[in-house]
């Protein structure tokens, strides 16, 4: 069995750590020494669980998708994170981190966002707690995810455009880190994925682990056993996947399928399939797999999905893939678009473009008729209607 928890320096095997300049040390160290103690505090637990239940609407249903099951010839269950308040799994983490920030006495919250789901989830918890909120978002993403920008502003957050580099998620993350360096005392940085310096990957995975915690009893109720044969989740940084895998990491009966965005194709030069195109290096304070040149310059990724358009991958996933515990599958823009249309018309559910990648991966897998497959339905697709409409117009009339 592999060791799937971090060591005392924040490494999963050789992936992880905290490669940060001294200017970030005080902030990160404050979190590192406090997060486990705070998470295990019964009062924290009580408040976290109550908010997840009454505010987020948890537990999220585990839904047996009958028509998808018939189509694929397996038992397909959907973990409905799209039904959470704000429409995605991201809020599980922001609820946890805002409670942490409150206990640390922080007055100002910053975040990065790609698709805008994490930005909305952060703006939401800041409104809930009356804290100032600044969200960094790449200029390109501000354009392609306009509905979420409007939602963040409605919630009182300031959306600051990241204008450097590819003007997407990587650059928004750089800007948020720079803001944190400039504000070392009153600010908490709510990272949205299992990326960044230790303790973020572990902390975010713990907050998202509620997904697989619920799956266990829901599967037991519905199938008579508390584990599936496979869990399928999309991976940009990898927070919904980390949460969906968490309680099964050491259960080798469960296949873990990590679905990456291939963009226009893995070998097209326009891709975000990090595990295939990446090599070991350092991004955003973490040693992991990332897309880079031979000289160690980070390559600008591409995916139609703003949430998967990231040149790195959380160190947990780099470790799981390297150890062959997780299998990486890559899905192109076109496959994801086709899958979103298919799921919409088979099940009456419009998934986010990120999640559509996970659905498209079902075409790449093989399984037996009795196999139980859980797809983590990480978010709903309202924010992507512009992309879906353009796709519909390009399709021949039925």
């Amino acid at each position: 069995m592999i060791h799937t928890q971090i060591d005392e320096r924040g490494y999963y095997g050789r992936f992880g750590g905290a490669y940060i300049p001294e200017m970030l040390q005080a902030n990160v160290e404050e979190l590192r020494v406090n997060y486990l103690r705070m998470l295990e505090d019964p009062e924290f637990r009580r408040e976290f669980d109550l908010l997840l239940k009454d505010y987020v609407g948890r537990p999220s249903p585990l839904y047996y998708a009958d028509r998808l099951s018939q189509h694929y010839g397996a038992k397909v269950y959907l973990k409905r994170e799209d039904l959470n308040h704000t429409g995605a799994h991201k809020i599980n983490n922001t609820i946890g981190q805002i409670l942490l920030a409150e206990r640390l006495g922080k007055k100002r919250i910053i975040a990065e966002t790609g698709a805008g789901q994490h930005g909305v989830a952060t703006a939401t918890v800041c409104a809930l707690k009356g804290l100032q909120c600044i969200v960094y978002m790449g200029e390109v993403d501000i354009e392609r995810q306009a509905p979420n920008v409007a939602r963040m502003r409605m919630l009182g957050a300031e959306v600051r455009p990241a204008r450097s580099g590819s003007r997407t998620l990587k650059d928004a993350t750089n800007e948020a880190i720079r803001d944190w360096i400039n504000n070392p005392e009153d600010t908490h940085y709510i990272i949205g994925s299992v990326v960044g310096p230790h303790p973020y990957p572990d902390m975010v995975a713990r907050f998202q682990s509620v997904i697989s915690e619920e799956m266990k009893w829901q599967l037991a109720e519905k199938t008579g056993r508390d584990y599936p044969d496979a869990i399928v989740a999309c991976v940009g940084g990898g927070s919904n996947a980390a949460g969906a895998y968490y309680h099964y990491l050491n259960d080798e009966r469960v296949r873990l399928i990590a679905v990456e965005a291939a963009g226009l194709g893995v070998d097209s030069g326009e891709s975000a399939a990090t595990s295939q195109l990446g090599t070991e290096g350092i991004i955003h304070g973490s040693r992991t797999l990332l897309m880079q040149t031979e000289d160690g310059q980070i390559v600008e990724p591409y995916s139609i999905s703003a949430g998967l358009d990231y040149p790195g991958i959380g160190p947990l996933h780099a470790f799981l893939i390297d150890a062959k515990r997780a299998e990486a599958v890559s899905v192109t823009d076109d496959e994801a678009l086709a899958a979103s249309l298919f799921v919409a018309r088979q099940e009456g559910i419009i998934p986010a473009l990120e999640t559509a990648h996970a659905f498209a991966a079902l075409d790449h897998m093989s399984y037996g008729p009795e196999d139980v497959i859980v797809v983590c339905l990480s978010g709903r697709g309202d924010k992507d209607l512009a992309a879906f409409s353009a796709y519909l117009e390009s399709q021949p009339l039925p």
Partner: protein
């Protein structure tokens, strides 16, 4: 003897360390910048290895890095340029950059190439102390490359002592909690922080950086420690000077060292 050791022994005060991004403003300006900085009176030169994602740097160095990369700068070429610069000057040279590039080049190979090119020291701000001690310190010491670490107003005294212990070169005293490129007067709060560090009585030479942008801030910084580091202000002075890199460089150093010069 390492040129940094020699410098701090010969000139304990008023050391002017100027940072620039290699390959900026033009791909082949690196040698000219170094030669002119040294001729005009810079005591130490920090050569930035341009990086795609410089997370601790403000807009000025972000943009100079991007321009340098667009110009085609890479480490192999930089080592060739530094070798050429060494034929003309004995000014101490320190390489500064993010660790990912060193990791991809290979730490051993990087240290060997730097030493062969006449580099005297390294600053790798995102290389953590534990990983440095485990993977890097020995090979750097064997090549007589001095490694400098940063301390900030948030660094507790106990940690400053540990960092000073790890630093085989000068201590880089970051003047304020910020990314690079700020410029303002030195505040009372900063003075209190400098006094706190001075009271620790550490053996390492110390240079103040971040927010040092002109003759006045340079003079103030020199009152506290061995000298100061100017980066973004020099990059700004080089902007748009592609055809007169030498003159712009000399004029900049003169404005710092001879306040009456304009």
């Amino acid at each position: 003897m390492n040129r940094l050791t020699k410098l701090f022994a010969a000139k304990p005060r008023d050391i002017l360390n100027v940072y620039f991004t290699a390959g900026f403003p033009t791909l082949d300006s690196t040698v000219a910048v170094i030669r002119n900085l040294a001729e005009a009176g810079a005591d130490l030169i920090e050569v930035g290895m341009p990086y795609s994602d410089p997370m601790a740097d403000g807009e000025t160095i972000q943009q100079s890095s991007m321009k340098a990369l667009q110009n085609g700068m890479n480490l192999k070429l930089l080592f060739e340029q530094l070798t050429e610069a060494r034929r003309h000057t004995q000014v101490p040279l320190v390489l500064m950059g993010y660790y990912n590039q060193v990791m991809q080049y290979g730490p051993e190979r990087f240290v060997a190439a730097a030493a062969a090119a006449g580099v005297d020291g390294l600053i790798l701000p995102d290389l953590p102390a534990y990983e440095y001690e485990r993977d890097f310190r020995e090979i750097a010491e064997a090549a007589d490359l001095q490694v400098s670490f940063l301390i900030t107003p948030q660094t507790p005294d106990e940690r400053i002592r540990q960092i000073a212990e790890s630093s085989t070169g000068f201590l880089y005293v970051v003047s304020s909690s910020s990314i690079t490129g700020g410029s303002s007067e030195i505040s009372d709060r900063q003075r209190a922080y400098f006094d706190r560090i001075a009271a620790l009585d550490l053996p390492n030479p110390k240079l103040i950086g971040f927010g040092i942008s002109d003759a006045a801030t340079f003079r103030t910084a020199c009152e506290y420690f061995n000298g100061a580091i100017i980066g973004s202000a020099f990059i700004r002075a080089l902007g748009g000077q592609e055809d007169r890199v030498g003159e712009a460089t000399q004029a900049f150093v003169k404005r710092i060292l001879e306040p009456s010069y304009s």
